[in-house]
Amino acid sequence: MRIGRTEKIIHHIVLICLGLIFILPLLWMLVASIDSSAIQALKIPEKYTLKNYMGILSDPSIIRSFLIGIFLSGGQSIIVVIVSILAAYPLSRYKPSYKKSFLYTILFLTSLPMTAVIVPVFQMFLLFNFVDKLWAVMLFTAGTSLPYAIWMMKNFMDSVPIELEESAWIDGASVWGGIRRVIAPLMLPGTFTVLIFTYTGSWGNFFVPYILIQSPEKMPASVTIFQFFGNYGLVNYGELAAFSVLYSAPVVILYYLSQRYMSKGFSLGGATKG
């Protein structure tokens, strides 16, 4: 649309101001993490240092919490990807009589605020002696991220033409052979999207491990960073910032990698299809 020159300038100014507001809180984190005398406000460091990062990386309990985080989020993502591919296959290829009601239920579950079930889940974990068991936490978080993953995966699978699979069947392939040799390779972008989406969601999940894990030595990074904030956050800004950068880095990198796949499965249009 043709718009006036003044209007165009105003648009740019408004956007630049908004961009600045959006970047300031994060910029503080980045700068403070390499400042030898970081304070609460954003300032140009007098002396640049990697000491803050060294401080975080030399703490074995923090390193351990990162490894636990990778284990929990990685395990959860792998379970979710495998189970959601299996579930998406019949929903995309067969016509079971319960297909419609199943999909509506899945869609309904995707939008429930999962924060709300943590209290009964905790009780269930107490009952079965699951508290502090990492595998149980992993399965629970996998269960909660499954509805959305199945929904995305089904939409991706719908876009793989069935004819390709049929030609594999003519060549003598079984259902499994068809999935392995035809569907899986074509679904790679979709699978990565679901994997990355689940992983980032899980990596950032603070509430679930905070409640369901009680031994300090089993806490993932999302919880240790919170404890670090509580203990030293208002004293040692530099290390808090460095910890935050290190903790955020994996999801930022994954987001960057996934960007070209993400738009397909993630757009609102893709989720609702008209």
Partner: protein, 300 residues
């Protein structure tokens, strides 16, 4: 001829049987870790379940006691009010409106410029929630970036935002964190509007405001509804951000339902009552969710 996969047994399985085999792992996981807790939510909300003390051993059904307690619980009403305020201002008025504004202003601008602005907004969205909490505690702190800017510009004394305006603080932080989602949704929708449509209206001498109101908004109406619903549901369950920034305080100024639920269940150890609060959150969420599916007439 119908093409079928090569099965070792020639026996034909029905679609239902085959589907059930594929779906079974998902069903088992969903059943144990999703539906059971939801059913337990309903059951436990009728019990006197507590985490410690004598009540911990013998769980008793207390009928509607928790709900009667809820009706007389001033803090619960306060929390429902806070939650609605938080959702209204941070999700509906904040994220959706600001997301639309950014997407709208970006339309037709230089690609590199759009990208630069887009990255700053998306960076906030990609950052883990707990880190957003810390960044904003520092940003709004007495000696934080915002106060140093305000002092430099106007010379007034630093403002203790988190103590004097706690609700405004968490609302701002949540807008900051979530706007990217709405922005991306609206960008996709606005980019789909053909330029000719708006150009034709300009030719006819329509004012800017009329074009936005009568052409742009009706075209992206579907995206607006979807986005509103999704953002509302996401915001309803926000716990981490508020917990990290204010812990529900000062006083109970930012005690939204999720924070109140946490406090009752894990600080006061009243699991039964905490579960009853969960049920309130779930019901509000379920209502929104049904409304959402209804509005969009989703095809499956």
């Amino acid at each position: 001829m119908e093409v079928t996969p090569n099965a070792s047994s020639k026996k034909k399985m029905s679609d239902n049987t085959k589907s059930s085999i594929f779906l079974s792992p998902a069903l088992i996981l969903l059943l144990i870790f999703f539906l059971t807790p939801m059913l337990l939510t309903i059951v436990f909300s009728f019990t006197n379940l507590a985490l410690t003390g004598s009540q911990a051993q013998n769980i008793k059904f207390v009928g509607f006691d928790n709900f009667i307690q809820m009706f007389n619980d001033a803090q619960l009403y306060n929390s429902i009010g806070k939650t609605l305020l938080f959702v209204l201002f941070s999700a509906i008025l904040g994220q959706c409106l600001l997301g639309f504004l950014i997407a709208f202003l970006m339309k037709g601008k230089n690609a590199a410029f759009r990208r630069a602005i887009g990255i700053t907004v998306i960076a906030a969205w990609v950052t883990p929630e707990i880190v957003v909490g810390f960044s904003w505690v520092a940003f709004l702190g007495d000696n934080g970036t915002l106060n140093s800017i305000i002092t430099a510009l106007s010379g007034i004394e630093p403002i203790a935002f988190l103590f004097e305006y706690p609700m405004v603080s968490v609302v701002l932080a949540n807008i900051w964190r979530g706007t990217a989602f709405s922005m991306m949704a609206f960008q996709a929708a606005l980019d789909d509007i053909p330029l000719e449509v708006e150009e034709a209206a300009v030719m006819d001498g329509a004012s800017r405001w009329r074009i936005v109101r009568n052409i742009t908004i009706p075209i992206v109406k579907g995206t607006i509804t979807t986005n509103l619903m999704l953002v509302t549901l996401q915001t309803l369950g926000v716990f981490t951000l508020i917990y990290a920034m204010t812990g529900g305080g000062p006083g109970n100024a930012t005690m939204t339902l999720p924070v109140y639920m946490y406090q009752q269940a894990f600080v006061s150890y009243q699991l039964g009552y905490g579960t009853a609060i969960s049920l309130v959150i779930l019901i509000i969420g379920a209502l929104f969710s049904l409304l959402y599916m209804r509005f969009l007439k989703v095809k499956v």
